[in-house]
Symmetry: C3
Subunit: 327 residues, 3 copies
């Protein structure tokens, strides 16, 4: 009874959104197309659509992330859903309730969706496997494993600027080994048909095992950026790294920081993305972050539409061309 891919139902429709890995190109394209129709609606001053009216979405945040929670909360409001924020460390554990009992209780309260953020890889998957048919699960970041809505908003932004994926060279720069964002990006890019995905970073931060995902590894930034159309800069997350792996911030910037000068090696119309929040002067120079190649704030805007799309699709709701509901 346990399907091979719990993200899809028997008809191949999206039922949970746990990781980009394992989803076919048609599903990723459906998410992008749905987001496109919702983004168009938003630009017409009708930011709010009734797609999830009366539905209850629970933000289950086992690690704090104001930024991510805010984007999901806004997406829920703009879908007309009710949302409930639960900071788990602070609540149920104080009375010693087990995680599964808590999930089953929320299910019994007839909630419809769990948006899950957890420090451990596989947490969203575990939860999806342990809830009933009435609950859809969306992964808002689990450990080093996946951050699929972030990856899809990157894809959305790339498609808006480049139109197609099949002719792109894309570089991911930074702490690829520890990044859930990077893993999801690599799967999304290759699934959508990008022929050349490069990862760039110091040897200590890029495990050789990544070659198995079909990427090209560079340790020299200039070489890696040569001729690329898209630069995906990763956030340097000091808190995730053991002390010995990383040079000083200053040295990191010298070796891998994205500056206007280094970017000259990329294609003339290359765009630069970053998941935010930015460490200015560490992984990216302010001149680039605020410059004309940067699409960082567009990513934030598109993030709402992409999350709205994922949340609608897992609930079986498909907006029409005008952003209105159709069942």
């Amino acid at each position: 009874m346990k399907r091979n891919n719990i993200q899809l139902d028997d008809q191949g429709r999206l039922r949970h959104f746990l990781s980009v890995e394992g989803l076919p190109r048609t599903t990723l394209t459906e998410i992008l197309d749905t987001a496109e129709s919702l983004a168009s609606a938003a630009s017409q001053n009708v930011k709010k659509v009734p797609l999830l009216r009366g539905k209850t979405i629970v933000n289950l945040f086992f690690e704090p992330s104001t930024r991510t929670r805010t984007t999901f909360e806004l997406a829920a409001k703009r879908l007309s859903a009710d949302s409930l924020n639960m900071n788990i460390s602070a609540s149920s554990t104080s009375k010693g309730e087990s995680l599964l009992d808590m999930l089953h209780n929320l299910e019994a309260m007839q909630c419809d969706m769990f948006v899950v953020r957890h420090a451990e890889s596989g947490a969203a998957n575990f939860i999806a496997r342990n809830v009933g048919d009435s609950i859809a699960v969306v992964n808002a970041g689990d450990g080093r494993h996946a951050h699929p809505t972030q990856a899809m908003l990157d894809m959305f932004t790339i498609r808006r600027h480049k139109g197609e994926f099949h002719n792109l060279r894309v570089a991911i720069v930074g702490d690829v080994g520890h990044s859930r964002v990077a893993r999801s990006q690599i799967h999304a890019l290759t699934t959508l048909g990008v022929p050349e995905v490069r990862v760039i970073g110091p040897k200590t931060l890029i495990p050789e095992s990544l070659r198995g995902l079909g990427v090209h590894i560079y340790h020299d930034l200039d070489e890696g950026l040569d001729g690329v159309d898209v630069v995906l800069v990763l956030r340097l997350q000091n808190e995730r790294m053991g002390a010995a792996l990383l040079p000083s911030e200053r040295e990191y910037f010298h070796l891998y920081g994205i500056t206007a000068e280094r970017l000259e090696r990329a294609a003339d119309d290359a765009i630069v993305l970053h998941p935010g929040p930015i460490n200015r002067g560490v992984e990216i120079d302010s001149e680039v972050a605020d410059g004309e190649r940067s699409v960082i704030l567009e990513q934030v805007t598109h993030g709402i539409a992409v999350r709205m799309a994922a949340m609608s699709l897992v609930m079986g709701q498909h907006p029409g061309k005008d952003g209105e509901a159709r069942a």
Copy 2:
């Protein structure tokens, strides 16, 4: 001018819901019937009704309880009300505002209902006596005194399974002396016509004064469970007890823990209830909690409908048979 029973208005309609004690059977039955009509509506995929649209409900929580607050918040959302969460210890006291000034301010902001949770017995009652006519008060648990919505969701669950109350034997097992839930349950059961209410627990946890409420006291679990139709298991609340009163958790489970074996003494179709969250292996065995006699998760579902019912009735709103509003 102070009425004898501040919970009812001059026409005998529910105006505050502070305790089951003192309410006539007709009122309790009205709450159950209202909850029934709202629960039916919920099962038809129209979880949200417009009964309290535009009303402002303030969750005044003087002690933290994520679980209870969540159920009231969901009930408010499904009634289309706006709700405001106030964690009192963290807010107004920091500026030294008196409780009464704070209540009068919220009243002046044209709020409509206070849902009150407080560690001290009588707090909800005190608040109801000190607010104006425009405010309805619902008790979400005060000290050892009462937890009326919890008791009513138990009654609702019993009625769903047993149909009638007049032919039931009901046992309440555990720390009856310290439990606000137990006090409310006893009043609800006797008012609704249950002929035999038993309480079961160690001598240190059951005050003799309970006999005044018309219950039968048992200190032996097997004797107490003999032939009962309903078992209401209480949560063991270590934090409420002085150290000397309670045996070890292990010893407690041995003496009073509800296991499949002990349950054989009860009626064949006996049901088991628990207010949650469960301490597995302390007051109840997992085999029972997750077994076919358990209606624990149903209680959670019904809890939303019962709270919606109480909140609607104190606001003078009665849903029709289809869950729609009628004034």
Copy 3:
């Protein structure tokens, strides 16, 4: 391109509400008139109007203030807007995000309004100067500088009781030097045409520079209250004062506390206002606070309507006479 007064657009319409200072009388009167129409709507049991449906209002609170946040949150709900609460110290700074990056991110999420509370004077102004055209900013109190919605609710309350401003004598009593409320009150009163504004308090709390605002300074309470029509009592904010400036609470009450006896010097129909929360027995006696001259709870009620008015106007929405939207 930077206009002299960033609060008004090219047509002189309110675009941000940062301070009363610098706004013409017509604008203040428009706020009062808009609040009047919204207050009338509220009293007809239609507390909620659809003026800001689909708009996203972010409460950016850099210093905690449950009370002020509650009034803005209620105002937002009654305008049918979605609101997002952000406690800044607790969130983005933990990941080292800069303030401007955070603001630009919220802007990119297509939020429509920032309600700003900050301990530093000028913060709301700074934010208004650094956001794009799509964002309106409302100041909910910045340092010692301004608290314009508080001042306007005082004006609203005065107009309700006195009808006109041009024939009034108004006294502001207390720690005028440290009060953002007092500065905003003085600007509002003089702009609306009050011919005589007095400030009363100890020399240590009233800077001589205030004379530049056209007020009369009194250090003796009896002299200052003589014949006034309106008494605006300030809250004594111990936390804002250096130790040496202030006598003991008891001595302060003796010298400047508003009692029924001291009030005999005022006009027979004088009214008493206080921004709350009250320090009973420090700046005001309970007999006065709860007495017939007190309009303190009315202020709280009017505060919602005035905030709704300011929020509607900065969004370009003007309610009709019945509180309904007209563009």
